[in-house]
């Protein structure tokens, strides 16, 4: 879990030193607050929630909240999937660097949902628990994040900079 927490922290902060501070503080808070952890509930989601909440109260986290407002998708309706489109056809030709760029350019709320889902393989329920949002919002963020990534990757493959 240490490696996962660190990786997630680095994605949130985009800075090694800040990520290290964040992980260290998370572990200390988790240890001090361990008695508040309810056995039978999800330890991983609990740790990620501590990390994320700690991040949101940091200077970088507050800045991110200003630039990527967390209520950008209060409409919790999941976006309709687009099916087979030129974008999805072009996706097969995208390389890892393009995927990384597309991931980095996502607004923070979308990126953290995608990272928890695809990288940490959390269930929608766990993600909702970690982010403190309803499941519908999780689905909406994932749907929008993937749509944005598909479009950006398609543009990259076409050689068009959006």
């Amino acid at each position: 879990m240490f490696a996962s927490l660190y990786n997630f922290a680095h994605w949130l902060t985009q800075d090694r030193e800040e990520a290290e501070d964040l992980v260290q503080e998370t572990y200390l808070k988790a240890f001090k607050g361990f008695t508040s952890f309810q056995q039978g509930t999800n330890l991983r989601a609990w740790m990620f929630r501590i990390l994320r909440n700690t991040f949101l109260t940091s200077r970088t986290g507050l800045r991110v909240k200003m630039t990527d407002p967390l209520d950008l998708d209060e409409d919790t309706e999941a976006m309709p999937a687009t099916g087979e489109t030129p974008e999805t056809l072009l996706l097969a030709r995208a390389d890892q660097q393009a995927v990384q760029d597309a991931l980095e350019r996502l607004p923070a709320p979308y990126r953290e949902a995608i990272l928890l889902c695809d990288m940490e393989e959390m269930s929608y329920h766990e993600i909702a628990e970690t982010l403190g949002v309803p499941m519908g919002t999780v689905m909406s963020r994932l749907s929008r994040a993937r749509k944005s990534m598909r479009e950006r990757l398609a543009a990259t493959v076409r050689g068009v900079t959006k």
Binding site: N7, A19, E20, Q24, Q39, G83, T88, S123, Y124, M139
Partner: protein, 248 residues
């Protein structure tokens, strides 16, 4: 193209569909090539995101620092709270033991799952191998200069297995060889990487796993870690593994 079912594909690739919904969607996928292709592309994006998402790793020094600071906090915390500390420690141990078992199982499943994904995406490619040959004396030399290690390939004549070719594979930032074999209509990937501490933890020797109709076997030999992955029967996977072991 738009299909009413495509709205459920994200939940499908995220393994969030269950029961009747899952059965219905899988029945639809068998009949709808467009949705099947769309689901595959979504799965590819998910796997690519997974691969690039694991990008940052902590330094060993930092890991040590956290361990030390938590230990220091633990000592201070214990000093004033003997009785609740004992209860908390018992709870922590009770939680950590199954967590360790779960973590180990999750690691194995994750590693084998990633390799199964590599295998599937290879088969989905228009050019699944970079060196196309049934001759081991052609395939093995192709890797010279491309990998920091060498490996042996057994003679496949008089066996049900046929070598199709090979390609370079990257797994968790390490280069390795991916060899494609065929048995009947089934294709099997053999991955060879330098063994590492995290891979060594998978098991001490022979191990056969089966999940989602994929079978896999892994072992280590001479500093190399071998994985055999495919949708062939476990007996087929094991047969190829045994054959490969004769090449030492």
């Amino acid at each position: 193209m738009s299909c009413e079912w495509s709205a459920k594909l994200d939940r499908y690739v995220d393994s969030e569909l269950t029961g009747g919904e899952l059965t219905e969607l899988e029945a639809h996928l068998r009949a709808c090539p467009a949705c099947t292709a769309d689901a595959l592309r979504r799965l590819q994006l998910k796997r690519m995101t997974q691969a690039v998402g694991r990008r940052f790793s902590a330094t060993p020094q930092f890991r040590l620092k956290v361990e030390q600071s938590v230990s220091a906090g633990k000592r201070a915390w214990w000093a004033g709270r003997w009785i609740p500390a004992i209860a908390a420690a018992a709870a922590l141990v009770a939680m950590l033991i199954p967590a360790a078992v779960w973590l180990q199982r999750a690691r194995v499943e994750q590693t084998l799952g990633e390799l199964a994904d590599l295998h599937v995406s290879t088969l989905a490619s228009a050019n699944p191998v970079d060196v196309v040959s049934t001759d081991r004396h052609t395939v093995k030399p192709w890797f010279q200069g491309k990998l920091p290690f060498s490996f042996n390939l057994p003679e496949m004549r008089n066996s049900p297995f046929e070598l199709i070719g090979g390609r370079l594979a990257y797994f968790q930032q390490s280069p390795g060889a991916q060899l494609l074999f065929e048995i009947g209509k089934h294709r099997i990937s053999v991955f060879i990487f330098q063994d590492r501490a995290d891979l060594s933890r998978l098991n001490a020797g022979y191990s056969l796993h089966r999940k989602l109709a994929f079978s896999s076997e892994t072992w280590t030999e001479g500093g190399l870690r071998y994985f055999v992955v495919g949708d062939a029967s476990p007996a087929g996977i094991h047969g190829l593994s045994e054959r490969l072991k004769t090449a030492y």
